[in-house]
Amino acid sequence: MGKKVLIVDDEPGVVKMVRFLLEKNSFGVVSATEGEEGVKLAAQEKPDLILMDIMMPSIDGNEATRRLKDNEITRNIPIIMLSALGQEGDVAKSLELGAIDYIVKPFHPQELLERVKKILG
């Protein structure tokens, strides 16, 4: 099994599409559809990379990122934010909080794959 990626997004279609893409490319994928669950899962699964949507119900991507960075176990897991245009402010905040990159939605799957591969080598 290759590297493990956690995807946190409230849109099941996006989760399914990313899971398909990454699994096809030999990545292990775990997913959560909301922030709190994502944070819990990250601590359990200790993925190699987290793809985090920003706008989600209950706690949003930024709050989840903050919590992940607060936690000893999850602190060093790299996070790529999935943002939509018009959320530049949120992106900047995420980067401040410790996210290493961001991808603007909607994205071409190929683009995402390239970024993931770049980080996970």
Binding site: E11, G13, L21, L85, Q87, P106, F107, H108
Partner: protein, 667 residues
């Protein structure tokens, strides 16, 4: 004080001189007269005595001659005859001829027995140097006395004459002194008047001409004083009324003045109102009876008639006026009606009507004075009217302004509320767009992702029809994403939520960067993009690179879209002094002039583009315009279609049609 002051007048000097003169005259003349009287008496006596002596000598000589022989050898008869002849002289009283021995030889008849008091002259008679006797003659002294009396009489006459002359002189001097005195009083009075003391009056100086003169003088001064008082009064009232800006106040002053101070029996002021109405505005001194019996309207008629003239109309003979007026005026005891038109140039303001009980109250010179006063009154009334009008005007203006201000305030309030609402709406719109675009984005991410994956054959090969259909879905998804992105951009710019991050940047590098993004599209359409850099070295410009890239992207996307396959797109950069200009010339069919004006409006798409089924959101140019203007630049489009001047396309060696989009950015 002027009255008490006594001046050393020349008249007074002359009085003292007069007295001195008279004194000297008396002191000198009387002794002189007495002395001359005495001398004259003495002279008369001498003359008479001499005369007698002379006569005596001639008688004696004569008698001596005739009697020498007679005395020697007396011829007494002859002697007696001569003696008789001499004694015929009435002065001779008695003649005696005697010999040396004093023996009488002959004598005359004695005229009087008493010879005492008579003048006795004794003369010797000589003959051949020998005294032969003597002759003695007694003269009557009465002649001497007579002579003396007449001499004294003469002197007396002279003295009386002198005395009379002197008395006359004295009388003259005294009377002169009195005239001088009185003239002095008059002169003194005149001087006081001259000094401006018009209250000066001369005391009664008697009933003669001087007294009359003084009386006339007093009357004259009184008249002058009255005139002066009147003038002062008129002047003061004039000044007061010119200063007053209230018509009623002015009118009150005038009627008070004319009736109270100028001895008019009554007075009215008629004014020409708006629309040529003619109305009484003030009156004084008219009886209720007169007013109630329509007297005012008769006066008004007279006054109105006088408006035809430009000078005072004076009526003191009413025999030819209508009987009603005649009797009314008589009842009211009005003997004179003066109507003075109130004029300002040609403008007739009204009439000042003054009535008097006696036609002598207002002699011509007083009427003249009143006319001058009326001119002042007209000016004052005009000023007051103008002031009133100004006040009225400013009041109206104020009201209008108040209304306007209230309206404006209301409109402002409405505008403010509308603006607030609009801002709320705008924010709601922006929020809505942001939310909607996000909500659209997630499903679009799935659609784009899955169609991409399908087209890439990740799920196995597709047959051509499947591939074609999925491709259409994929293309339309991209279009939808473009639309959403542009919409969101524009809404952010319009909401002012875009902050420019300006920094110096190399325009040419930015342009090449943007062109690089188009490499796939360019390759697909086999287009050529050529950058024609400025002949000069372009200065760095200050701009937000991301935004500038967006402008260039939108313009290039446009150019790529409209340029026919295989054609050339030219991007030209030039330094235009204050600004740097970027031109993007495409190889399309150009822009119709009717489209030119709408090019940069949101959602505007040229009908031709629609007809040719060229994909676009109609937002790209609107966004480009907003960004350029945010930078303080200008954006425009040109096309040779229908343009008279094709000169600006000369740099495009193809001479093609196309369109040129240009924008400038300040350095």
């Amino acid at each position: 004080m002027g009255k008490e002051m006594i001046e050393s007048s020349p008249a007074r000097l002359r009085f003292t001189l007069g007295f001195k003169f008279i004194g000297v005259l008396i002191l000198v003349l009387i002794p002189m007269m007495l002395a001359s009287g005495l001398i004259m008496v003495n002279q008369v006596r001498q003359i008479v005595t001499e005369d007698i002596n002379k006569k005596s000598k001639s008688y004696a000589n004569f008698l001596a001659k005739v009697s020498r022989q007679g005395v020697k050898e007396p011829d007494l008869i002859i002697l007696k005859r001569y003696i008789g002849e001499i004694s015929l002289d009435k002065d001779v009283l008695y003649i005696l001829v005697a010999d040396t021995k004093n023996r009488p030889l002959a004598h005359s008849d004695k005229k009087t027995e008493n010879l005492t008091g008579a003048l006795e002259v004794t003369l010797p008679i000589f003959y051949k140097g020998e005294r032969t006797g003597y002759i003695r003659i007694w003269y009557s002294f009465s002649r001497v006395a007579d002579e003396l009396t007449s001499g004294v009489q003469h002197i007396l006459f002279l003295l009386i004459g002198l005395f009379v002359v002197m008395m006359g002189l004295i009388m003259f001097v005294i009377s002169e002194q009195m005239i001088f005195n009185r003239i002095g009083i008059i002169i003194k009075g005149m001087k006081q008047v001259q000094r401006g003391d018009l209250s000066t009056r001369i005391e009664k100086l008697g009933n003669d001409e001087l007294g009359y003169l003084a009386l006339q003088f007093n009357q004259m001064v009184k008249r002058v004083e009255e005139n002066q008082q009147e003038l002062t009064l008129l002047f003061e009232v004039s000044r007061a009324m010119t200063a007053a800006l209230d018509i009623n106040l002015i009118i009150d002053m005038v009627v008070q003045l004319t009736v109270g101070d100028l001895q008019a029996s009554s007075c009215c002021i008629f004014l020409v109102g708006d629309g040529m109405g003619f109305n009484i505005r003030g009156s004084r001194g008219l009886s209720d009876k007169f007013i109630n019996s329509n007297g005012i309207s008769l006066l008004e008629d007279l006054a109105q008639k006088s408006l035809m003239y430009n000078e005072p109309v004076v009526l003191d003979d009413f025999r030819h006026t209508n009987p009603g007026l005649q009797s009314l005026l008589k009842q009211e005891n009005i003997a004179m009606v003066i109507n003075i038109p109130l004029l300002i140039g040609d403008r007739k303001l009204g009439v000042l009507n003054i009535n008097a009980k006696d036609s002598l109250t207002f002699p011509p010179e007083r009427i003249e004075l009143l006319t001058a006063f009326a001119r002042q009154l007209a000016v004052a009334l005009q000023n007051a009217q103008l002031y009133e009008r100004t006040q009225q005007f400013s009041k109206e203006l104020e009201e209008k302004i108040n209304i306007a201000t209230t309206d404006l305030a209301r409109a402002n309030e409405r505008l403010r509320l509308a603006n607030e609402k609009l801002q709320d709406l705008n924010k709601a719109k922006s929020d809505f767009i942001a939310i909607v675009s996000h909500e659209l984005r997630s499903p679009l991410t799935s659609i784009l992702g899955f169609t991409d994956l399908l087209l890439q054959g990740e799920t196995g090969a597709l047959d051509p029809t499947q591939k074609d259909f999925i491709d259409i879905i994929n293309q339309n998804t991209k279009r939808l994403i473009d639309l959403i992105n542009n919409l969101l951009n524009l809404s952010k710019i319009e909401a002012g939520r875009v902050e420019l991050k300006k920094e110096p940047l190399d325009l040419e590098k930015t342009v090449h960067g943007v062109i690089h993004n188009f490499r796939t599209l360019i390759a697909e359409k086999k287009l050529v993009i050529r950058v024609a850099p400025s002949a000069e070295v372009l200065p760095p410009i200050i701009a937000d690179e991301n935004q500038l890239a967006r402008v260039l992207t939108n313009l290039l996307a446009n150019a790529v879209k409209y340029t026919a396959a295989g054609a050339e797109i030219i991007v030209k950069l030039s330094d235009k002094g204050d600004v740097v200009q970027v031109d993007v010339l495409d190889g399309g069919n150009g822009i119709e002039s009717r489209d030119m004006t709408h090019m940069f409006e949101r959602f505007y798409r040229a009908p031709k583009a629609k007809a040719e089924n060229i994909v676009g959101t109609g937002l790209g140019l609107a966004i480009a315009k907003s960004i350029v203007e945010m930078h303080g630049g200008r954006i425009w489009a040109e096309s040779p279609i229908g343009a008279a001047d094709k000169e600006f396309f000369s740099w495009d060696k193809r001479g093609g049609s196309g369109a040129k989009f240009s924008f400038t950015l300040p350095k």
